[in-house]
Symmetry: C2
Subunit: 217 residues, 2 copies
């Protein structure tokens, strides 16, 4: 069965998945890179963003958790704010995401936006589709594109929250980073009682973060 | 040096230290006993609320963390909502707290309230003083009463938050319970950057909770 999964979704102690003030230079606003420091140290990150045979980076529990990100994934759905810092109607179509000419996804990626634009074919197998749709409809299209494989919900917080609220998520991996961000966009809002639909597991890492895993009951 | 400490302070994933709708039957509102299930299983809890020689209850990491609650403590400061469910002027002075005739504290306890009332001498060494004061002034009085020992800030969330905001806390032990409460009173609000003043440590327990320890740098 094709599952819907969230991986490596980092939040602060106070539940913020991104800070305030996203811009071209600050994809996560005032959070900077503090939410993802644990990830940058992993071998998985180095291989995603460097050479495939890179043997650097840490290989402990952070890496083991990070690594499952791509296993069996056939498509991703992301919110527009994960794709870029622009708001409202596109001024032009120059922006092609934060990830350069060969994005890390290597699958179809469905970007939820009220302002659709033409599909973007990137090098390395990533195709960005732009979609004004409900979570249910976006998932239907992503599943079709995934051809039997799993669908990843890539973020940001409001996108993950919308899919959780619609009870569409089967596997949720959240990484709690021991910082208090104070402002930004929260993950847990409006999800009272979420834990009743999942088995939960928590494990800490020497890097100081706590990995939470929610698996659908 | 006399330290200011918080122990066994349980919060939900979304940061609530208590639920909504406190009443005589529900000290933690709609949270019920879900925030403290981990604690009820410990030997420390059983000894606090039962016989001193009780050898029942779990003795793993939850118990080890819970147990440090009373070591070297000479006084506690708590908010009025920890003391009881009443709001506004006292209708009478019948209410003597949730803890029965012999409360677990066994030290002077300073209850912060805009409506002071006469001191309550309880069995077993607990004395409730009622105080309309700033965190700084309350701490001054509690330190004097503690006679060189440490002072515990007992909660609830707004009281702990006020002492953290005033930078008066030296040791903070928070227990994150894997539930999403959705409403109630949050611990972390207004504390952006708190982690910069502390070394932090996280450890999970087989009970599913995560113990966070903040130690002043």
């Amino acid at each position: 069965m094709s599952l819907v999964r969230v991986h490596n979704f980092s939040i602060s102690l106070d539940g913020y998945g991104t800070g305030e003030g996203q811009s071209l230079d600050s994809p996560f606003g005032h959070a900077g890179d503090r939410l993802h420091g644990w990830f940058f140290q992993t071998r998985t990150f180095r291989r995603m963003h460097g050479r495939e045979g890179d043997t650097g980076g840490d290989t402990g529990v952070d890496d083991a958790m990070a690594r499952t990100w791509s296993d069996g994934i056939g498509a991703e759905i992301m919110g527009r704010n994960k794709f870029g810092p622009q708001r409202g109607p596109w001024q032009d179509h120059e922006w092609q995401g934060w990830w350069g000419p060969e994005p890390v996804f290597r699958t179809p990626v469905f970007v939820l936006t009220h302002h659709p634009r033409p599909t973007l074919e990137m090098a390395g197998g990533t195709t960005f589709h732009f979609l004004d749709a409900t979570p249910e409809e976006a998932l239907r299209q992503a599943r079709e594109a995934a051809d039997g494989k799993d669908v990843r919900i890539g973020g940001g917080p409001s996108t993950v929250r919308a899919f959780l609220a619609a009870d569409l998520i089967d596997h949720l991996h959240v990484v709690v980073v021991p910082i208090v961000l104070g402002r930004g966009e929260r993950l847990w809002d409006g999800l009272e009682g979420l834990e009743q639909r999942f088995r939960t597991e928590a494990v800490t890492s020497p890097s100081g973060v706590t990995h939470l895993t929610f698996t659908r009951r």
